[in-house]
Amino acid sequence: MARRQARRRRNNVLRHAIHRLILAIPVMFGVVLIGFLLMQVVPTDPATVRAGPTATPDVIEAIRSDLGLDQPLYVQFGLYVWRLLHGDLGSSIINNVPVVQELGATIPATVELMVASLFWSIPLGILLGTLAAYWRGSLLDRAIMAISVAGVSVPVFFLGLVLIWFVGFQWQLLPFTGRAGPFYTPEGAMSLILPAITLGGVFIGPVARMTRTAVLDVLTADHVRTARAKGLPERLVVLRHALRNALVPVVTLVGLQIGFLLGGAVVTETVFSWPGVGRLAVGAILSSDFPMAQGCIIVLSLGFILVNLAVDVLYAALDPRVRAA
């Protein structure tokens, strides 16, 4: 009986996920369209970039028709989407490497960085926020809130530079440029530490603050009083009846910070020369490498949508009232 109920619960969550996934399709299309249009309004001409500074006008013209740039916009877009659906995002204007290949090489680095950052910062932020809420008004509360405010006001690049300067450069404790390998190799893990501290570090403050607010809110709820009246120890009252409920708004709020996190990833990758999608995007934009930049935008947006989807599903899994709807 309990098992059947559990299965029904899982099915509900699954249905919810599929529903959201379908809703994400038009959003994805919009992202591709906007990414495409953005590249049209940039004043630089891809054909000129491709041709190099010494090219004659006919050469540029030839390249233009070669790239399909003389076609009407909707044809260009249709062609772009058609290729995209076949996994073809074109090639770099600069070095002719296929965009997909370049993305394939950088995506794991970015995912690794994000996961490593969230892996420690979210639990720590939630722990600090919960402690601050439970002991609200105490010295501990004020200390945690001071740290989190400081954390919010420190820009990512500043934290990164400070860590590089002291930990990497002065004390020579950890590597601070590039990715020495995948995270499961010792060198790779070492090189991941400073970037993950940097990106996670700026995330702790917001998570701690949101958790504190949410837990404070729940702690005064009637059902918490009920939990105490049952004779539950405080530890369980806080974990099962305050924090567990507070996670619902916390997950939503954390979800709203995903854009902030992606921005932070771009900066972190740049500061630490981390070979991820963010750094690739910055390089592509600076060198007017249009196909590459477009590919990066699509991947970053897709990441954004997928993480939002994950948040949504998690939200449904946490709140039975959402699941039922």
Partner: protein, 328 residues
Amino acid sequence: MTDDLLRIDGLRTVFRTHGGEIAAVDGVDLSVPRGRTLGIVGESGCGKSVLSLSVMRLVAHPGRVAAGHVALDGRDLLSLSNAEMRDVRGSQVAMIFQEPMTSLNPVHTVGFQITEAMRAHDARASKADLRDRAIDALKRVRIPAPERRFDEYPHQLSGGMRQRVMIAMALACKPKLLIADEPTTALDVTVQAQILDLLRDLQQETGMSIILITHDLGVVAEMADEVAVMYAGRVVERAPAGALFGDPMHPYTLGLLGSVPRLDEERENLLAIEGSVPPPFALPKGCRFHPRCPFAVPECRSEQPPLRPIAEGHQAACLRAPVEAFAA
């Protein structure tokens, strides 16, 4: 009166506010006979909930119990350690609240919340055993299809069903005392009657004592063996139910009885007494009821009348009680 399960003596519960300390409960003496029901009545804000939370030692910050004794079976609850008190909660004294909609946790199943209460006092019980006991408890509060309800969430239940779940949970560990703080106020009339019936039957079955808090005198008349009337943090009259309704002695009680609400009308409109309960930070000197008392005399402004026996088993806190004297 040797067979009292609970005795409250000189209980005083204060809240720290920016205007200084205020006493929401101020020198209350009460007792609850074993296997019987004590009804506590009084208008909103007179301290009924604070009193019951004080017994459970669940008064939230910035409140605290400042003085008095609460003895359950002769054991002073106020001097227990936190761990000992936790053991008392749920297993010896249980509580149900006014708001069945919010008193259950929305993210856990009904079954989880009931078994959790059992596990808190019996760590060794097996999962299957707990489940059986919880379904039993749901059956006892007459919830249809208890096996299915066990796995449901509170939002899938109606208000009346949720209050039944609260009762099942409260009774899961067979407490000696159940404190019901306005258990039916939020429910509609037919459901109200069902819940009260249920409480009465369960009391017969288990022999537990009940403190029933309400501002509905009709409910008290129907349910209570003893009645205490509270006003502004104090008990102003105490008597067996028959005596209180047949022969009220305090002017406040008289006023309340003059305003027994009819079920089809708004309660507030029917209070025959002018004005409202003074808040604890603006208590009048002397008898706290004097600004609203039609029988007040000048002495009432200076002297706070203690609760004193007027007749056998009947106490009132009024300088001029019994009230028949006023008729003269």
